[in-house]
């Protein structure tokens, strides 16, 4: 298949405004009469609020409003379970809970007013460890609930007892992972404008998921959805992070805006952002695996417990993805897994790039190497013996038969690009000196899009102006990943026009239908199909119009028309490629307008059917999967324990790369984020308090930490994806930690089962300070 606009590394359509500083992010917006909003947060992770006195704060010059939980019409919101409070009324559940909000004419006045709010707390004991929360007699984090369990997903396949009875070797291991901060470079911001045009309130800002925010605000205000309009702005990164935290911020700003009848802007400082925003779930995972002496997996039993923190947030779905991916891309006849989420008084946890997969992959891919060591096998050969192929049956009982299961191809390409075999043999020999090298790998299969989590459909609008220029709307949002460019490429491909004729509009909930959230690496696949659908509808209208106008004269039918190079052609002569121009796209648009033809269309795409039985964890949870393999090469200074990642090879089957340059960009970025997860990043918590609330304490990779990264794009077009395209955003991050841990093991002989792999762990095998990589 040959393409004109897709499968090409075209330049990003939003790069110009970003390199010139013209791109407006939330914090750059100003409105006449705008006030500044600030939040007073609790002093204690868990406390009863006995009294709040706002009198002095209200009297402070410049202060226009001070609101508490009492002023919130409906104080509970949430996408899955509605138990997150907009403002804490009677009780605070975690250290980021807001207690009051202030709107003032200046930021200084708002900050000063916060100090004048008098709150009387009664500090309460809290639960800071999910193991504690699980105990029968544990206090309940939320008194109105029967217990601390947010969710339990069981999965049963085959007969686990029988499976282990057949095993020659059984290994039991425990792995843990940490709280991680998204660290999007732009802290959260929201501006609520009251009574703008015909909406009750309009929300601007760093909104990842405009519909989720719209729903939350409408439900908090107890008004109809059409009264709340959310317009997205340039977003300074999100990685799953600007969802619930933005919803709550938007609800607070909306309340203040309606109270004062003035626009209210709220911008978090970095410290506020880290203190309040949800994190990646820490997991504790017990794995038991059984295999034959020849290295065939026969049984796997898993218990995984996720810390949900104070609220349910996305825990039910995050843990659900863990269920599907927990056994890895391996054929295992007998499987029993139990995945749980528990409430604690820790900071709450939610969506972050990977979404429940990086944790289980760290465990299960470390385990595969441990098993290989136990069996005296090469880890690569052990994997190749057990991986999924076409027609394999997954742990959830799904037969993989509707797309190319390319895992073997992906692995072998990564092995080749990294020179794995040679290096593995070389580093197995004894190494002199303090610095030791190792190489390690990890592989995965990943369900694309939402799967059985929620409705999986998206919309797009294409609107052609009478001069042939085009406005493109999508219900999914640019987060920085490059969605605008990808969607514009798809529209341009279908309509045969240049990208510079396409104006990509920001998401506006009053214009385009609810398309769900920009999550789960679903945009290209689901949103891309919606854009294609819209483009094809407009194209059909145009073709029909052209046939009516010129069909008789030139003797062709609508279906014979060819759209390319900003023109419309018809095939002529016998040779393929002989074409004759009928009209330019621009001229066509003018004529169609004058003839009263509608040149706009809504596109819609709904994902194929899937199924899931929550009791047994069986079904077809996703309609297609992507496959990845990453190989890490490290050097460990056994004197200091320092780990240097020298090289990461990342091979990913993306179906088809709509924009190969963008795919590589995703790989570089995801690999680096995975590297941070593996060796540097950890939000340090102690009894619910957070110790590192800025980048001086929470360290993320800088350019100096960057290894050589070799991206390998593998393309096996998917029958469902637009032009065969699937996903790339999240798979890039989920593999690094296990690959690096496996490489560190080869280098040092030390197996580290806890993330991050810090200096102490490398040196002495366990961490010295509680929760510290510093």
């Amino acid at each position: 298949m040959s393409f004109n606009k897709v499968n090409k590394s075209v330049k990003r359509i939003d790069a110009y405004e970003k390199v010139t500083g013209r791109a407006k992010y939330g914090a750059d917006l100003k409105f006449a009469g705008m006030l500044y909003g600030k939040v007073l947060r609790t002093k204690y992770p868990h406390a009863r609020i006995l009294k709040i006195d706002i009198k002095k704060a209200l009297e402070y010059p410049g202060v226009e409003a001070v609101l508490t939980a009492r002023d919130v019409p409906n104080n509970q919101f949430g996408v899955i379970i509605r138990n997150q409070q907009v403002l804490a009324g009677k009780e605070t559940f975690y250290i980021g809970d807001g207690v009051a909000v202030v709107a003032a004419r200046t930021e200084e006045a708002a900050e000063r007013a916060l100090e004048l709010i008098e709150v009387k707390y009664q500090e309460l004991p809290g639960i800071y460890d999910p193991e504690e929360a699980m105990k029968e007699d544990a206090d309940r984090v939320h008194k109105e609930l029967p217990g601390n369990q947010v969710i339990h997903h069981p999965l049963r396949k085959g007969d686990i007892e029988e499976g282990f009875a057949r095993a020659d070797v059984i290994l039991e291991r425990e792995y843990t992972t940490q709280f991680v901060e998204h660290s999007y470079l732009e802290p959260e911001v929201v501006i609520a404008v009251p009574h703008e045009q015909n909406s009750l309130v309009t929300i601007y800002g760093s909104v990842q998921n405009p519909y989720a925010t719209q729903n939350a605000v409408a439900s908090v205000l107890q008004v109809e959805l059409s009264r709340v309009r959310v317009i997205q702005n340039h977003l300074g990164g999100s990685f799953g992070g600007k969802d619930e935290v933005i919803s709550s911020m938007a609800a607070r700003a909306a309340l203040l805006a309606l109270k004062t009848n003035r626009p209210v802007k709220m911008v978090n400082s970095r410290d506020e952002s880290i203190l309040e925003s949800y994190k990646r779930h820490p997991y504790r995972m017990k794995y038991k695996v059984g295999a034959t002496r020849e290295g065939k997996l026969v049984a796997m039993e898993i218990k995984a417990v996720a810390d949900s923190g104070a609220y349910a947030c996305q825990t039910p779905f995050v843990t659900w993805r863990s269920v599907v991916q927990a056994t890895g891309p391996y054929e295992v006849p007998h499987v029993k897994t139990d995945t749980y989420g528990y409430y604690t008084n820790n900071i709450y946890t939610g969506a972050m790039r990977g979404y429940g997969s990086p944790q289980v992959i760290f465990a299960q891919e470390s385990l595969m190497d441990e098993l290989a060591t136990e069996l005296g096998m090469d880890p690569l050969e052990l994997r190749l013996q057990n991986i999924y192929h076409n027609n394999s049956i997954t742990a959830s009982g799904q037969r993989l038969d509707n797309h190319k299961v390319s895992l073997k191809e992906v692995i072998l390409k990564a092995v080749e690009a990294s020179n794995y075999r040679e290096k593995y043999a070389e580093y197995n020999k004894s190494q002199s000196g303090d610095k030791k090298r190792g190489i390690g790998m990890a592989i995965s299969f990943r369900g694309c899009s939402l799967g059985a989590e929620a409705v999986d459909a998206a919309a797009a609008i294409i609107h052609i102006q009478k001069d042939g220029s085009l406005d493109l709307y999508s219900g999914l949002a640019e987060n920085g990943q490059g969605l605008k460019t990808i969607f514009a490429q798809i529209a341009a491909e279908e309509l045969g026009i240049d990208l510079d004729r396409i104006n990509f509009m920001e998401v506006d909930t009053s214009i385009i239908p609810d398309s769900g959230s920009t999550v789960a690496s679903r945009s290209t696949l689901i949103g891309g199909n919606a854009v294609r659908n819209a483009a094809r509808k407009v194209k059909a209208i145009i073709a029909e119009f052209i046939e009516e106008e010129y069909g008789d004269e030139f003797g062709f039918k609508a279906k014979d028309l060819i759209f390319k190079d900003n023109r419309i052609y018809v095939a002529e002569g016998k040779d393929v490629g002989d074409i004759k121009e009928i009209i330019s796209f621009k001229e066509m648009a003018g004529k169609a307008y004058n003839a009263g033809v509608l040149l706009s269309a809504y596109g819609w795409y709904k994902a194929p059917e899937i199924s899931w039985d929550e009791e047994t964890g069986q079904g077809n949870p996703y309609f297609t999967y992507v496959y990845g393999c990453q190989i890490a090469e490290v050097e460990v200074d056994t004197g200091t324990g320092e780990i240097e990642v020298l090289k990461m090879t990342a091979a990913h089957d993306v179906g088809r790369a709509i924009n190969p340059a963008n795919v590589k960009g995703q790989i570089y970025g995801g690999v680096m984020m995975g590297l941070g997860y593996a060796i540097m990043e950890e939000l340090e918590t102690e009894e619910g308090y957070i110790r590192n609330t800025n980048f001086d304490g929470y360290l993320i990779p800088t350019v100096r930490d960057m290894p050589e990264i070799i991206p390998v794009i593998v393309e096996n077009p998917d029958p469902v994806g637009p032009y065969g395209a699937k996903s790339i955003g999240e798979p890039t991050l989920e593999l690094g930690s296990a690959a690096i841990a496996n490489a560190v093991f080869q280098a040092t002989g030390r197996r580290i089962r806890s993330l991050p792999l810090n200096l102490e762990r490398v040196l002495i095998g366990h961490s010295l300070s509680k929760g510290g990589n510093r």
């Binding site: 330049k11 790069a15 470079l185 732009e186 802290p187 300074g236 800025n694 980048f695």
Partner: protein, 171 residues
Amino acid sequence: MKITITVNGEKREVETTPSTRLLDLLRDDLHLTGTKEGCGKGECGACTVIMNGELVASCLVLSPQADGAEITTIEGLGTEEELDPIQEAYIEAGAVQCGFCIPGMVLASKKLLEENPQPDEGEIRRGLSGNICRCTGYQKIIDAVKLAAKKLAGTGKLAGAGKSRGKGGGR
């Protein structure tokens, strides 16, 4: 208090307070919002500007310290018609994702290339080590700097050319 600063070639008198950060003065008083705030603590580089020829984190500079200074912000690079070669290179190399770090990165690149028109990879890494990017994994940013060095050498333009000529362009 009043201070005088020359921003992107244009001399400005600004009424401010001693505790106002240069970052806020640029963003709020001069409406040059291309300079971003990512941490407020000198850790991320999103607020980077060039002040008297040096890279500074504008979140750490108080307005009196900027009195009399010459400042270049991202808005001062290139012109309406013609981008600075560094900006072009960032676009061509695909170095931009969310874009929030980019103004700071571009200015850090500019300073680097002014001092060292042909930096090697290690020098590029050192030059950009004060700027965090969470999206790109840095690879394409390094590629962009290499490309910019080539462009600048090719056109015979010094990295400094075109500097401060934008008449506060982009506002």
